[in-house]
Amino acid sequence: MARLVALLLALACMPFSSGLYGAVAADLRFTAGEYSGFTRPFLERVARDYEALHPDTHIQIEVIPWDSYLQKLTTDISSGDQPDIAIVPTMWVSDLAADGLLEPLDALATPDFKAKFIPAFLVPARVNGTLLGLPAAASARAMVVNTDLLQKAGVQAPKTWDDLFTAAKAVAALPNTYGFGLPGKEVEVDTYFYYALWSFGGEILKDGKSGLASPEAIRAATFYMSLINAKATEPSPTAHSREDVFKLFKEGRIGIVFAYPMLVPQLKAEAPDLRYAVLPFPVQTQPVTLGVTDVLTLSSSSKNQKAAWDFMQFLYGARYRAEFDHAEGLLPVTVEGAADSYYRDNPDIAAFAAGLGYARFAPTIKGWSELSEITLRSLQAMYIGQKTPTEAMTDAARQIDDVLARR
């Protein structure tokens, strides 16, 4: 009996003893948002390549849908299980930094390594002058039009917002089609407003306060409402998410949408016969686009920082970078990547990349997601007719100012 107990005890202890041996090796956990179905297999492959070169290191890849990523990260961190390495949207960096969760990278990155990156992309990942993340993904937005529908409606591709109004109305007059795709549900409802806001000369934040109550912001909101009232958008924008709008565009039922570069590979795969063109946003006072960056960050509490940093550099191998950017429809973040002829020869991607020169970024301030939610809520109230553009914008500005004052 005693022998049996001893045997059982020995068996029970086995996982621990092997764990003790394994402690010499590095176990890394790496989380990333899901750009597409390609993200997970790609990162898995890079991790296995790295493990083949470094047999002591084991890398666990977790790819999470963007919609639930913030929740996942919050619960992981609050239960003391922060991933060693994480690709996160730049707008979360300030919040992560405020809790001291990110390891400063200035001391780790050699000047040679830093020189790999397009300098502008290193700026958004700095908080108070400290580099907290490496640019992992970059994208800029642009306007995509269905050239067949515009032709049928007898209009040119819009260059100004007034053109856009005319073109959208003309396309909407065709049977069973909508002019302009305006998402009013779920992700990026506020982003679709910033395009017009910036274009009309407004600002999201000005002198530490919300810029939504400015005359420019109200003009931009009024313009979107005039599109809805003129039935130039899809009916009930608040019932349509960005993906719903893109689906209608792929079906050839919407004339004009604002989109990200990832839409291009989707169009090629799902709507090969659709004739489209990628164009800059309409201009009112100045050309604008939204630049979006995600950054690769290192946990300040990681037990294997050395191995993690080594793997982070490995991810920037030229071959991996090019493959990732091309497959995900992203723009280059490295100098070497930007020199790739791919970005000149592919007119669609080139059109998106063209905006990088004048791209604007969402503010990198603490608590950005709350400001974004307030804006979304006010825009939805306006889209369904609960509030006038002036009411919606002043309400949003007041609430945002309250939140900013509370910090």
Binding site: T74, I77, D99, S236, R377
Partner: protein
């Protein structure tokens, strides 16, 4: 519990009694421990969070007393959302009972194809609420969705309708779907209750001249009361905390127009990043549900004809 037989002496009985009790404690110890770890520990953590200042990513800071509760009370959105939660819970639980009770009464009778009918009513229980909600989202939100195609084929509408286009319509659909999801479970409980009522009682009532309505009102329903209470207790708790249907269909939008407390709680925690206030809200919700459950249990214990 003392059932000592004449052959055993008194001290022996006591000793056995004691050993029995020790055995009983030993047997329930694992479940008590599990219940403690599964429920009490998180609740205590939650209480601590609700009384502290908590950062965006869950770092627990200073004790701030009741500040989080005060902020919550000052939230202009909360009264409407609380009211909507009551409306949601009331309509879904009421609607469920209104459908499940007649369904159970019918399924309890003997008729041809009864087994198949029982299977069809109960089968949706096996489908997860989340997948159900995803299917409904597709059926409702797509212009070529199931509902539009059905309505157009039957000539009810000429052009596709955006079913989730307005707040009242969205919320009404969410309530309907929640009722559909809750009916199978409630029917099972009520069917179990019905089959526990001896048919002799009903036969006796019939011999005494009671018609079908009187038998239902004076015999079946009073005897079914404990089961109806169980259905109510479970449904109120489930429905009040039911997240997937509303989240998948409308995310509580547009403009918080379909938010109930639990969807707003999620937004408070993960979109707005106010984990401390979210903890406070969940404490309040837990308290409210606890009070409701205790009240319902009291009702359950009260005799039917008291």
């Amino acid at each position: 519990m003392r059932r000592g037989k004449s052959t055993t002496s008194l001290p022996a009985v006591d000793e056995r009694h004691l050993r029995n009790r020790q055995m009983l404690f030993l047997l329930i110890a694992p479940s008590v421990a599990a219940a403690f770890f599964i429920t009490l520990v998180p609740v205590l953590l939650l209480v601590r969070m609700s009384l502290s200042s908590v950062s965006r990513f869950g770092r627990i800071g200073d004790n701030v007393g009741l500040r989080n509760f005060a902020r919550l009370m000052a939230d202009p959105l909360l009264p409407d959302i609380a009211l909507r939660t009551a409306l949601w819970t009331g309509s879904v639980v009421g609607g469920t009972l209104l459908i499940a009770l007649p369904t159970a009464l019918v399924l309890n009778r003997r008729f041809f194809g009864r087994r198949l009918a029982q299977f069809l009513v109960l089968a949706p229980w096996a489908i997860s609420v989340t997948s159900m909600a995803v299917v409904w989202r597709r059926a409702l939100s797509d212009e070529a969705g199931l509902l539009n195609r059905l309505a157009m084929a039957s000539g009810l509408i000429e052009r596709p309708v955006i079913w989730l286009g307005s707040i009242p319509a969205s919320f009404a659909f969410e309530i309907l779907i929640a009722i559909l999801v809750s009916v199978p479970f409630s029917t099972v409980i009520l069917l179990a209750g019905l089959s526990s009522i001896p048919s002799e009682i009903s036969d006796a009532a019939r011999l005494d001249g009671a018609n079908a309505g009187a038998r239902l009102g004076h015999v079946t329903l009073p005897l079914l009361r404990p089961f109806i209470c169980v259905v109510l207790i479970f449904n109120i708790a489930y429905v009040m905390n039911s997240f997937p249907i509303i989240w998948i269909l409308t995310q509580g939008g547009p403009a918080n127009g379909t938010d109930i407390l639990v969807t707003y709680l999620y937004k408070l925690a993960f979109t707005l990043g106010r984990l401390d206030e979210a903890a406070a809200l969940s404490i309040l919700m837990l308290g409210a549900l606890g009070v409701l459950t205790v009240l319902m249990l009291r009702m359950l214990e009260r005799p039917a004809h008291g």
